[in-house]
Symmetry: D2
Subunit: 277 residues, 4 copies
Amino acid sequence: MEIQTMQTSPSTQIVNIGGFDIGGPNFTVIAGPCSIESPAQFMETANGVKASGAHLLRGGIWKMRTSSKDFQGLGSAAFDFVKNVCKETNMSLVSEVTDIRQIEEIYDLVECFQVGSRSMQNYELLRELGKQRKPVLLKRGLSAYINEWIKAAEYITNGGNQNVILCERGIRTFETATRNTLDLNAVAYAKRNTNLPVIVDPSHAVGIRALVPDLACAAAAVGADGIIVEVHPRPAEALSDGMQALTLSDFSAMMKKLDKILTAIDRPLHKVTEHAH
Amino acid sequence: MEIQTMQTSPSTQIVNIGGFDIGGPNFTVIAGPCSIESPAQFMETANGVKASGAHLLRGGIWKMRTSSKDFQGLGSAAFDFVKNVCKETNMSLVSEVTDIRQIEEIYDLVECFQVGSRSMQNYELLRELGKQRKPVLLKRGLSAYINEWIKAAEYITNGGNQNVILCERGIRTFETATRNTLDLNAVAYAKRNTNLPVIVDPSHAVGIRALVPDLACAAAAVGADGIIVEVHPRPAEALSDGMQALTLSDFSAMMKKLDKILTAIDRPLHKVTEHAH
Amino acid sequence: MEIQTMQTSPSTQIVNIGGFDIGGPNFTVIAGPCSIESPAQFMETANGVKASGAHLLRGGIWKMRTSSKDFQGLGSAAFDFVKNVCKETNMSLVSEVTDIRQIEEIYDLVECFQVGSRSMQNYELLRELGKQRKPVLLKRGLSAYINEWIKAAEYITNGGNQNVILCERGIRTFETATRNTLDLNAVAYAKRNTNLPVIVDPSHAVGIRALVPDLACAAAAVGADGIIVEVHPRPAEALSDGMQALTLSDFSAMMKKLDKILTAIDRPLHKVTEHAH
Amino acid sequence: MEIQTMQTSPSTQIVNIGGFDIGGPNFTVIAGPCSIESPAQFMETANGVKASGAHLLRGGIWKMRTSSKDFQGLGSAAFDFVKNVCKETNMSLVSEVTDIRQIEEIYDLVECFQVGSRSMQNYELLRELGKQRKPVLLKRGLSAYINEWIKAAEYITNGGNQNVILCERGIRTFETATRNTLDLNAVAYAKRNTNLPVIVDPSHAVGIRALVPDLACAAAAVGADGIIVEVHPRPAEALSDGMQALTLSDFSAMMKKLDKILTAIDRPLHKVTEHAH
């Protein structure tokens, strides 16, 4: 075991997505469904999370699924209505690419490319994202050392794209009562040892709806720069990960509690009116 | 993987240690050195943490050490001065027993017996503690499923002693940058699935002094009932675990931040004047 | 990660149990039920495993169980008939102690004390076993580093009892398809870095009857000094761990395959006639 | 924990690489350097391993490295001399592709595409390999459940390419004394639950040269269909993974011991003269 003492933190560089600074004095909330399933589902979710104060939209167009038989996302069938939802709600989208060819396909649709945990060491994908001009949200691999996660980010930044946001989303451990194990040690550690913004995905990290808000609050208190969270109007009908999706009402209640904690530690939520799309 | 949704939490039963209710509306802070090393070191630490608002003292009389060559604690040589420090500071002590024979030896010295993570499945020890009238703080084993931890508590409660407090102190995972991995999922889960108070030991959970306060804040935000934290007047001179001990000044700063967060979520720190030894 | 290259192995010291040298030129097989359940069950198992070439008996008198409601072993009610079975079959017993007080209780019954994985860091128990004159079989803790396992053995040897046998029994990992993960890396590593005999418990390591013989063969091939394996005449009726118990017929078939592999690598099974009780 | 009992194994389908059947009555050895570094290094290694009985060559043209600053493989600069070495030695090559674009580039160079552990869930790559007519060696992800590994194989077979070989190469666990933890439980389990051939990479699984042969022998005894092992004429000069590379002399000694074990269990090594390139 290698243990280090750290006394000072580097200053965090700021990454701007759709008008919101991530890594600055305000806390950012990215919310939306796991999968984008239909125009109605996506519009309802977007309007709902915006009304409760979310800053950016999330939503999967292509889904990586353990089984090839599970729902793999709508793909290009979603492009038109996704663009429309973003325009109507005046929100920017963060969405995952799982292959180099997808970068170009959704370039105009998203303001931030997400790299999922299964792809954290898809170095060819990272190199290609290093050549782009839009930010990249890099999820930690399921069993990646913090150090491997930081080094994976360098595959992007070495290519010239400095706009990388680290995202802790739970690691795989022996525990089975929860989907993964949220590693807030890693958030505190990465904040002290890199200058990249660090956000948390409490939804994948615990996998149990009722516990997501508590862990979002913990993420805020530990010093994360934001969260990315799954919300679905009717989780029981979700085509993927319904167990961990908040309802719109859960989300609204969570935002109120987050607001209290963040205000207390002088790290307030962005005001939605700051938005300059 | 077994995933459960939980909508309601059981009401937490209250365990009183030295006049402080654990599991009720207030948050409890237990602080002190890893090992009790000398009368001067223990008195200085006790006075220091009390001045910053700690409610209860911690301190090891016997230490479990991986190597038989490492410092094993002062043992009975500490009894007299420990009693004196508790009396002078009007604070109660939480201390570890590693063997059945130690229960009687320190019965009059402590107000709560601690069971360390290596002993979580020392069922003979748990059974014996189930016959005592003083509370037991049960640390989670290094690689114990949440369910095993809860079932270990039943070895105590089945014996008639209901005064058990669960303590999450980090689990062993693949990550090596931090000493252990703090599992706040487990805290949120245990709060929803048991009626026992749950506290967090951020010191062992991360093992790096600079990160301990951030994780203590996360523990407060996630809904823990308290923390137990290591403090040493001069960590560089500590005979055990100096890397993770807060200085008295670190501790004081942490208490101020904790106070802000806990006030914001209506879970204030106990007032020290509540103390009724 | 700390990686070491090792070129030479220390010579293994020999530990004798009931006339069989463990750690010498021959391979040792310890077999029997998880729990000793009745005179008939234990006698039938003992006769059966002996007929197929087992050298020593295993069998739990006290069982450590995660749940306090599960079968905890017969305890002292088994003493008389256990002694009788050992005498009738002319076999020596390896059995677990979970508490210091049990050492004296079964001193005359066993030729080797077993320390279970939950007790690997019960240092008071190890210290007490260090004062005894009978060998100790020390199972690796569920999540013990190889180095912690070796250092735990020193708690015994430092007390004067050099007769320690290390036993790898599977570690806890993320994998859930098998009960634990058999770590044969650790066996190869320990053989090169200590002079203690090292044996393998394939039953707990995999937890699935059909796979136990394959893993026993792997243990023989990797260089272990023996195995300890669970056998039950009617596994479906076992009071503990029936899923992983071999039938007498499975055991017999496994012994034949082991014999072939061990003969090929010049590490033959002890002949049963070597036995000098 | 989900535990299953299995009594029968499916018959293993046979995958032919360069004239050698994998999954049939004979055991296959794939050997060569981690990285192909130069014509001389690759030729010397190929000749050396062939002389000791290796059946197929391994060697990395593109290397996935945690740090973007480490040696990334020769890439296209190696194509000509690699073809020449294969021709001169009359051996077929197994080599890794890390990106869809590489499949076409090395299609004529290799007889089997390797998918590394970091790419096990690069589903786009797997889908593309499912359209090819050459076999795929699919390494298990660092922290993939056995079930995820099997499901990843279906991304290939669903595309029409049934020629998939599973390769266990060590999983990431808490243990740090060895590079990874070889999971032979998984080999035994996969042999019983799929009809795909299963081989073992002991080099990455343990990461320590001196222990590789012992673990190769364990793989043979547990029932694997072959091994893939790293060999370097001068490991100290290797550009990647030198700590785990066998010398040619180590390899030769290992083959002799493997031969004994495999003969004993009626699973002999392929004769090299069987080769029909």
